[in-house]
Subunit: 396 residues, 2 copies
């Protein structure tokens, strides 16, 4: 049995890289950029009015003019015009191109227009109300660095530079495998000794949140069948994510079957609760990784968030923020096991306070639905006073 810290380091040691692919700009939402996004022109691409009003040449103001003759109206989307004289002005709308020979915009609120004459009530500052060409970014500048997760704001940047498709990190193909003769489908009425599948659905829903569409497989507790089916699953996927069949029970065939298929066991048991009998293995050659979680819902869900998500983030070279929270009660650690406790958090004056959810052990699916994450309690002998700080693992 190894410690949580060792297990975590081992999992992060075996990250993979699935290369890159090109996806359309809207499908790129949430994916990881593998190319720098550069300005294809200056931003803004022209001197742009930021107000509705009139555009003048400031030399008119310097000459003491306060009335300007209106030459025409400029709206956004019109090609650039030229101001013929510093005694003239153009009416100009927000977003329109500043005309040649103009350098200052005065907003409607500060003028009156009558009979094509604009009368200025307040002396402007030279250059005001203009968003200058290239003042945000110059052509060729990197707007978004590769490695960033594509957010809705970045989708907007992609659009503005004409990237209707973009290169992103490929995601792993994942097969979610449930095991156990006691499991029946959702739509079935279970007999007294049976229960419906649930873990795999939670895993599938969680994987969809990181843009992975896994395939599903259910295996009965039959040693040969398990080996055959796992072999197929291994050859068709980058990651197997199993739930159940990894305890010390007589029908827990998964570890044996995986090892028979050439998956190298990295570790099996971790000094933690829940999630102790987590079997983790890899095939160095074919670059496959197997996360074989215990069958209990809380164990599977905790290990998915504690190990799989950081492993995925590191494989995709994403920097993740470490979160920590204050626990609002005193707690006694386990002498030898790292504990992952379900909590509900809330913001209180800029800080995050966690409250324990009272669960009923690792078989209790219901308490999970109330939690928004786990806190990690290091093993030890000394109690942690109310208000102690713990690492927080948010649930998806």
């Amino acid at each position: 049995m190894i410690s949580f810290e060792t297990a975590f380091q081992k999992v992060l040691h075996f990250t993979l890289d699935w290369g890159e692919e090109k996806v359309s700009q809207l499908q790129a939402n949430g994916r990881v950029l593998t190319e720098d996004i550069k300005a294809d022109r200056d931003f803004p691409p022209f001197d742009r009015s930021t107000k509705d009003g009139i555009a003048i040449n400031f030399s008119g103001i310097e000459k003491g003019l306060d009335i300007f003759k209106v030459e025409g109206i400029l709206s956004a989307g019109m090609p650039q015009q030229s101001l013929s004289s510093d005694t003239h002005c153009f009416e100009i709308m927000t977003g329109a191109v500043l005309p040649n020979n103009a350098d200052t915009v005065i907003m409607y609120e500060e003028i009156e227009i009558e009979a094509q004459l604009a009368n200025i009530s307040k002396r402007p500052k030279k250059g005001q109300n203009i968003h200058s060409k290239g003042s945000d970014e110059v052509k060729g500048a990197v707007l978004v660095e590769k490695g960033r997760i594509i957010s809705p704001a970045i989708i907007g940047v992609l659009a503005s530079v004409g990237k209707s498709a973009v290169r992103v990190k490929k995601l792993p193909t994942v097969c979610v495998v449930s095991t156990g003769n006691e499991l029946v489908e959702i739509s079935e009425q279970p007999l007294p000794h049976q229960i419906r599948k649930s873990n795999t659905f939670s895993l599938i829903a969680a994987l969809k949140k990181v843009n992975i569409e896994p395939t599903q497989l259910h295996l009965a507790d039959d040693r040969q069948l398990i080996e055959n089916e796992l072999q197929k699953a291994l050859s068709n996927h980058d990651v197997l994510m199993l739930s159940g069949g990894v305890s010390k029970g007589k029908f827990d065939f998964i570890p044996d079957a995986l090892e028979a298929l050439g998956v190298e066991k990295i570790f099996h048991r971790i000094a933690q609760r829940p999630g102790k009998p987590f079997w983790f293995g890899i095939t160095e050659k074919q670059k496959k990784v197997v996360f074989s979680f215990p069958g209990n819902p809380v164990s599977t869900f905790a290990n998915y968030h504690v190990y799989f998500l950081p492993w995925l983030a590191k494989s995709l070279r994403i920097e993740t923020t470490k979160q920590s929270v204050f626990l609002d009660e005193t707690i006694t650690p386990h002498p030898t096991l790292t504990l992952f406790l379900q909590v509900k958090t809330k913001f209180e004056k800029g800080c995050v306070i966690a409250k324990l959810i009272q669960g009923n052990g690792s078989g209790d699916l219901i308490s999970l639905a109330k939690a928004d994450g786990f806190i990690r309690i290091p093993a030890g002998e000394t109690e942690f006073k109310k208000g102690s700080l713990f690492s927080f693992i948010p649930c998806t």
Copy 2:
């Protein structure tokens, strides 16, 4: 011009209710439950072993026995068996049904089995290692209350009670409308006075994160065309979300066109920056809402998060957590405008610290891509010292 506080209250006053619909369990991810999810049987549905080991009747221990004859092996998924005597035991696997006449499970680590005789090395406690029938929840108990957002953990609960379809709040149909003759498609090469559409793509990507698949519409700056197209859009959608065309410019036809179509203006301008010329209107009869944001990317993005998302949450009767963060620098408020400033946040010892992103005004799309939210700075005359606390509006 009204204050941020008044505008926010007005927007939240006009929430809508789109009723409910039935969706499949996996499609329900992220949706809002409109039915209580009840236990269709006890949880767990039988006395369930939580360890691999042997099941005995404790009366044998009370009689001083430490060797039990193995009657058979019980695995998860097998119907319940009966222990024939308190001198006997069954081998039992995690998740298996406890046999009749047994009341205690001893794990393999604390026994030795030879020639079908299990030898106990450590005196057990009566009832240990059993997850009792109904101890998590009894049949009929509410497992997940209506009104909750369906998380992956709740997807697991739905599966376990046989809910392959579930009733959820209907989401509004949204039409995202861009306006402006200066806008061209992503795939086009803009002329010097043109720019590509970007706001609407950010909005579409953001809406997808709340499970809304909007339709798109682009309108040229033509008064009659705008009115005709908006009429169609209004009759086919619950929400219009526009970007651009709401300033005081001569080609800003949107407010007029909407009012001509019977949309009642609730407000037009707010004492805030960015996002001041935000036009908000409703049609009381047909229950439509129009969010008409300014054309600048930062203005649109801020107002989407500041107004639309809280409005959507309240319409769906979701409780949202208010977040607050510490700003790591001293800041001077605007004397009369509420400011929304782009920040990047990080966790530091249980608290959240925000750093300002230096943007270049409301036209700067690029700085948006670096922010993870906005902080709200109330209007006033007194500077806020470094370390002051501000409301935080996270970006999707």
